[in-house]
């Protein structure tokens, strides 16, 4: 509202501003200032721009160029332009679709559990006043602090069918060795448990941030209307934190396509009972490091990049969580208004 008023004010004030004798000089000065500002901005951005080019733009461009080359073979060791041949190689590879089927199977099990878990625990914490809620939030966050490999080694201990505190579970399934626990059928469930354990803490904090943003008045009004804690959570809080839940779902979805460490290491301790190319990233790794087929590895990277880029675009433009542009506009209008006043 104020934003509109200020812009309106700025617009109506502008004509009188340009009519005087002084403004021409001021305009000249301000355009000089603008040049100075642009120059300053790019100097400040220089280190980041260099890193952006080196770690993102150039590798992507280079990968695209490589992906269009022909893979060298024993018969013809020279590589050259091969068009989309490598993309055909990748998509036609017998492992390509199975890696995606694996990921989608995992998603079908993991994502709903993850989202329900995040929302339920965040709501429980939000409904808990004071120190107890804070302490619980901290405890739920701890597993998330165990990054990557540490979480994995912890799970090596947990899926140990002999010594794990949940060994009874594995024995109940008839498994007595790692090889018998880590089977293709169990993979989605083991990965779900690993990812849930590691990921949930951070996301509880995110969704909790959303819950804390709900205004006092809304909650009080609902309580005055006689809503109990359950109704409050289900009918008032949940609809209001939808953007955060959507954000969590999409980020986790994107995360699924880049899964590497867990299936890669599970393969290592499974004595070969699961395939080495369980996830798409593992297939890319195999193309690059086992087959030394760089064009195919690059092509697969481009495919994964496009998928995650699509999800990323939805997150950034549709989630409504990155709308800080509005604030910039307000301040710009304020400044304009002040200058013209």
């Amino acid at each position: 509202m104020t934003n509109h008023l200020l812009e309106e004010r700025a617009r109506t004030a502008t004509p009188s501003d340009t009519s005087g004798a002084g403004p021409a000089a001021r305009r000249r000065r301000s355009s000089w200032l603008r040049r100075d500002e642009t120059l300053g901005a790019w100097v400040l951005l220089a280190p980041y721009t260099v890193l952006f080019l080196v770690a993102a733009a150039i590798p992507i461009g280079y990968a695209f160029v490589i992906s269009l080359q022909r893979a060298p073979s024993l018969v013809n060791p020279t590589s050259g332009f091969g068009g989309f041949e490598s993309f055909a190689t990748v998509v036609g590879d017998y492992r390509f679709w199975s890696t995606f089927i694996n990921i989608f199977t995992l998603m079908a099990i993991w994502l709903p559990i993850m989202i329900v878990g995040i929302v339920a625990l965040a709501l429980l914490i939000h409904a808990s006043p004071g120190r107890f809620g804070g302490a619980m939030r901290f405890v739920y966050y701890i597993p998330g602090a165990l990054g990557g490999i540490a979480n994995f080694v912890l799970w090596v201990y947990l899926i140990d069918p002999v010594n794990s505190p949940i060994a009874f579970l594995w024995q109940g399934l008839g498994a007595s060795t790692y090889k018998e626990v880590i089977t293709p059928g169990n993979m989605p469930f083991i990965l779900t448990a690993m990812l849930f354990f590691q990921g949930i803490g951070t996301w509880i904090v995110v969704v909790n941030g959303g819950l804390n943003g709900i205004s006092d008045e809304v909650l009080e009004a609902a309580r005055i209307d006689g809503a109990n804690a359950w109704q409050l959570a289900w009918h008032v809080k949940l609809p209001l934190i939808r953007p955060w839940v959507g954000y969590a779902a999409l980020m986790n979805l994107a995360y699924g396509f880049q899964l590497f460490l867990e299936p890669y290491l599970l393969r290592q301790i499974s004595s070969g009972s699961v395939v080495a190319e369980w996830a798409p990233t593992q297939l890319g790794y195999a193309f690059a490091f086992t087959n030394r087929n760089f064009p195919a590895a690059a092509a697969l990277s481009i495919i994964l990049l496009l998928i995650t880029l699509g999800i990323g675009l939805i997150i950034v433009t549709r989630s409504g969580l990155f709308g800080d542009e509005a604030r910039t506009r307000t301040t710009r209008a304020q400044r304009k208004a002040r200058r013209t006043a």
């Binding site: 642009t38 980041y48 619980m136 990054g147 201990y157 309580r223 790794y285 990049l305 800080d324």
Partner: protein
């Protein structure tokens, strides 16, 4: 992301949570405590495992969650096994820890040098392509970073730098989430009036940044340093692709992978050729030690984290 101060939050929860003891409240607390136990017990058992011995575990005398099998001698024994791993007298484990420190600190330092001024420029300066570049930064931030690893490998391979530490540190220096943190920091703490006033006083854009913006960005510096250090320390795929070819230059995350691969539990052939025995207690100890720097960073940055939690929360 929220506009609510901590005080206000507790007000809200006090209003909402001021129930008397009833069935619903008891159920809520029981559920939360049970879940907390399910989260904590495995970690406690894992840490106790690092203090345990393979003999106790095999004979089943280490007790509930291995808590009965802990001793200092076990730690000394396991430490000797871990540090004895490697050619000659071993010492690879320490080398890996040092390598991780080099790339993590180097990467975090680069991330700071890049992110703080970039965030300021995005937040408070007007220039062409600002919106597009900011958009690209947000996209790079929400995209999982492992999709870029193979392209980065191809790039580093093209300049024949695979197996060296410096490219890893440089790549880790690209930290768009840090730019976003810095951007939000200057958006919320540095009013436009301050920039305008500095300009009227005749300060150049660079001096405005160094003399006015930088001194008030302690919070952003702490957050960027913390989050990037943690991300670098735990990074797995990037070092795996770039450093696997050089055993001496591995980081601890892929080093632990090598330890797992040398365990008699998972690779009897490799393990048979080694002087050291790496069973689960040794692997657990190596993992726990590898987490100590993260713990130290966490304690060091804690007071900034509490304040910055709501901003930090946006990245998964």
């Amino acid at each position: 992301m929220t506009r609510v101060s901590p005080n206000r939050v507790s007000d809200v929860t006090r209003v909402v949570g001021s129930h008397r003891w009833n069935a619903g409240r008891i159920a809520r607390i029981v559920v939360m405590v049970v879940i907390a136990a399910a989260f904590l017990l495995p970690i406690i058992g894992f840490i106790a495992l690092a203090f345990g011995s393979q003999e106790n575990i095999e004979s089943g005398t280490s007790g509930f969650l291995n808590l009965g099998g802990m001793s200092w001698e076990n730690i000394v024994y396991s430490w000797n096994q871990i540090t004895g791993f490697g050619p000659g007298n071993g010492g690879l484990f320490q080398q890996w820890m040092i390598n991780s420190a080099i790339v993590s600190v180097g990467g975090a330092a680069l991330a700071l040098v890049a992110a703080i001024p970039a965030g300021y420029a995005f937040a408070r300066l007007r220039f062409r392509f600002r919106k597009a570049f900011l958009m690209a930064t947000l996209l790079a931030m929400v995209m999982p970073n492992t999709v870029l690893v193979i392209p980065i490998f191809l790039e580093v391979n093209a300049i024949n730098a695979v197996g060296q530490l410096w490219p890893v540190a440089v790549i880790m220096g690209f930290y768009p989430f840090g730019v976003y943190l810095s951007y939000i920091h200057f958006m919320t703490t540095m009013p436009h009036e301050l920039v305008e006033a500095a300009r009227i006083d005749g300060l150049s854009e660079l001096r405005t940044f160094f003399e006015i913006a930088l001194p008030i960005s302690k919070q952003a510096i702490a957050l960027v340093a913390f989050f990037s250090f943690v991300a670098n320390w735990t990074n797995f795929f990037l070092p795996l692709a770039l450093l696997t070819s050089s055993q001496q230059n591995k980081t601890i995350s892929i080093g632990i992978q090598e330890l797992i691969g040398a365990s008699p539990l998972f690779n009897a052939t490799v393990a048979a050729g080694l002087d050291v025995k790496l069973y689960l207690p040794q692997l657990a100890l190596a993992t726990v030690i590898s987490m100590v720097p993260l713990l130290a960073m966490f304690i060091g940055a804690q007071r900034f984290l509490v304040r910055g939690q709501t901003i930090g929360a946006v990245k998964g």
